[in-house]
């Protein structure tokens, strides 16, 4: 980590979230560098969605600081962060075409209007959905809609993109092809990504680094650097090895059975 000269995009310091008296996040400290792909891995109910709400500017934390590109959020005078967000569901406006959906978020960004056209074309090209530019979202498949949602997130020049289990509602074949492309897309666009998932294998395949959380209320259990070069193969034995290594580490803190059944088998 000391050798990493990239600038810090996101800094989370002593973050705590409680709902009333009930703590959801005990304490989180971590940083994300520009261009990094960070996966957040944690058992169900440990506070991942609560963390995303805080990182996305929607919910002030009970304690601690969130600094985005040098600006601290949730101060009386702080400005809203410029973010992308890929939700579990696509959350496109169904009564607007793909292009209109993208233009609506561009209209609220600082991207100059005369570059919109070229940008939209380029990003749709990268995501292999150029021919659906004028389609209604309802006419697209689930995977295509999620691609549009990813395009929307990248398009606005965000400091970072939050992804909340964006592939979990897709069938396995579609999820695989999107997973395969996601890393390439990040390299081509230089996007910084914070990717929340339940699946250890998905995290190993996609991420440069995995922030493993404890059971709720969450703390950082381990900052795990994925020791694999790119490009990676989802079915590679080495991915399975790293996965097994992580499973072994989290067995005790997460509670063994659930992990084995859901994510390894």
């Amino acid at each position: 980590m000391n050798t990493d000269t990239r600038e810090t995009v996101l800094k989370v310091v002593d973050l705590g979230v409680s709902y009333g008296e009930t703590p959801a996040i005990a304490q989180l400290d971590f940083e994300v560098k520009r261009g990094e792909f960070v996966a957040i891995l944690g058992p169900s109910g440990c506070g991942k969605s609560s963390m995303l709400n805080v990182l996305s500017g929607l919910m002030a934390p009970t304690r601690g600081r969130v600094v985005v590109d040098g600006d601290e959020l949730y101060l009386p005078r702080s400005k809203d962060p410029r973010l992308g967000y890929v939700f579990q569901a696509h959350r496109l406006l169904p009564w607007r075409t793909v292009r209109q959906n993208l233009e609506i978020v561009l209209g609220a960004s600082d991207v100059p209007r005369d570059t919109w056209h070229a940008r939209i074309d380029e990003i749709l090209e990268i995501l292999h959905i150029a021919e659906f530019k004028d389609a209604w979202p309802m006419r697209l498949s689930g995977g295509q809609r999620q691609r549009v949602s990813i395009a929307r997130a990248i398009l606005v020049d965000p400091s970072y993109i939050l992804m909340d289990e964006p592939l979990s509602t897709l069938d396995e074949v579609t999820a695989r092809s999107l997973r395969q492309e996601l890393t390439g897309i990040c390299q081509r666009t230089g996007a910084t990504i914070v990717f929340v998932t339940h699946s250890i294998r998905e995290a190993v395949y996609l991420a440069d680094r995995i922030i493993i959380l404890t059971r709720g209320p969450a703390q950082v259990f381990e900052n795990y650097i994925v020791p694999l070069e790119r490009p990676r193969d989802y079915d590679d034995a080495r991915i399975a090895e790293v996965e097994a290594d992580i499973v072994a580490r989290v067995q005790a803190p997460w509670g063994l059975e659930t992990v084995k059944e859901r994510d390894v088998a």
Partner: protein
């Protein structure tokens, strides 16, 4: 209707067309039976309740006379104008209040009981109070109709606002869509089906109530004309005027509003 491609062989199979013909003629037959039974019933009534229910053929003659008379059309356009004025105002005011209640908890706490009350008051009460307050001019009818109709619009719109997709609200917040853009692009399109239902309802209620308002408190218009004929016991004219008015209002309701609906919901296919 499933999303069948145009080239779907089943769609163009002759057997399917025959099927269609059967459906159409079935509908037609049903319509013919319904109309003949109504006519029959009408005849029976016209004999049983002798002077008060006019015979169908007398009524047809009266309808024809009405259609050719300038005084009928004068009343008609006057009444249509009143219907449109209250309908448009009640729709806009009602929708605005509905959105306010649906979006804002404070507004809901304050306005929801008022809305419940407004929905419970029988319409003639508004009409009587408006006439007592404003006299028998145009204002009384306009105010009474608008107050009677807008709570229904508010109620339909409010429940649609509260049932909106919160996911899209969050999306709009994260991408920092300005309020104006959020309303136009996210909220209002979600309300379109409710707004259309409310619009239909408001229109139907307006044209039914306007006749009551005119007969109680206005010297002219379709309602006043019906009431006038009634006082002279000219039941043929009463029936003729009512029938023309009902038919035209139904056509407007189905034709115009139906067309708008199709256009606004085209993204659903």
């Amino acid at each position: 209707m499933p999303d069948l491609p145009l080239s779907n062989p089943i769609m163009f199979h002759p057997a399917r067309w025959k099927n269609w013909n059967a459906v159409v003629s079935g509908k037609l037959l049903g319509g013919v039976i319904a109309i003949s039974s109504i006519l029959l019933l009408w005849y029976v009534l016209s004999i049983a309740v002798k002077p008060w229910v006019p015979t169908p053929e007398d009524t047809v003659v009266a309808i024809w006379k009405n259609l050719l008379s300038t005084s009928f059309w004068g009343d008609f356009w006057l009444t249509l104008g009143r219907v449109m004025a209250s309908f448009v105002t009640a729709s806009i005011v009602g929708a605005a209040i509905g959105i306010l209640i649906g979006m804002n908890e404070k507004a809901e706490a304050f306005l929801q009981p008022l809305l419940a009350l407004a929905l419970a008051v029988p319409d003639p009460v508004y009409i009587i109070f408006a006439i007592l307050t404003f006299g028998t001019g145009e204002t009384a009818g306009f105010v009474a109709l608008t107050i009677a109709v807008s709570p229904f619009v508010s109620n339909i719109v409010r429940s649609s606002v509260q049932a909106r997709d919160i996911g899209l609200d969050e999306m709009a917040k994260i991408y920092r869509l300005p309020k104006r853009v959020f309303f136009r692009q996210s909220l209002v399109p979600q309300l379109v089906p409710a707004l259309l239902t409310a619009g239909r309802f408001a229109f139907a209620l307006s044209w039914k109530l306007v006749v009551v308002v005119e007969s109680i408190g206005q010297p002219d218009g379709i309602g006043a004309s019906i009431f006038h004929s009634f006082r002279l016991l000219r039941m043929r004219e009463v029936a003729a005027t009512a029938i023309i008015f009902i038919v035209v209002m139904q056509l407007l309701e189905r034709g115009v509003l139906g067309r708008i609906e199709k256009k606004l919901l085209k993204w659903r296919d």
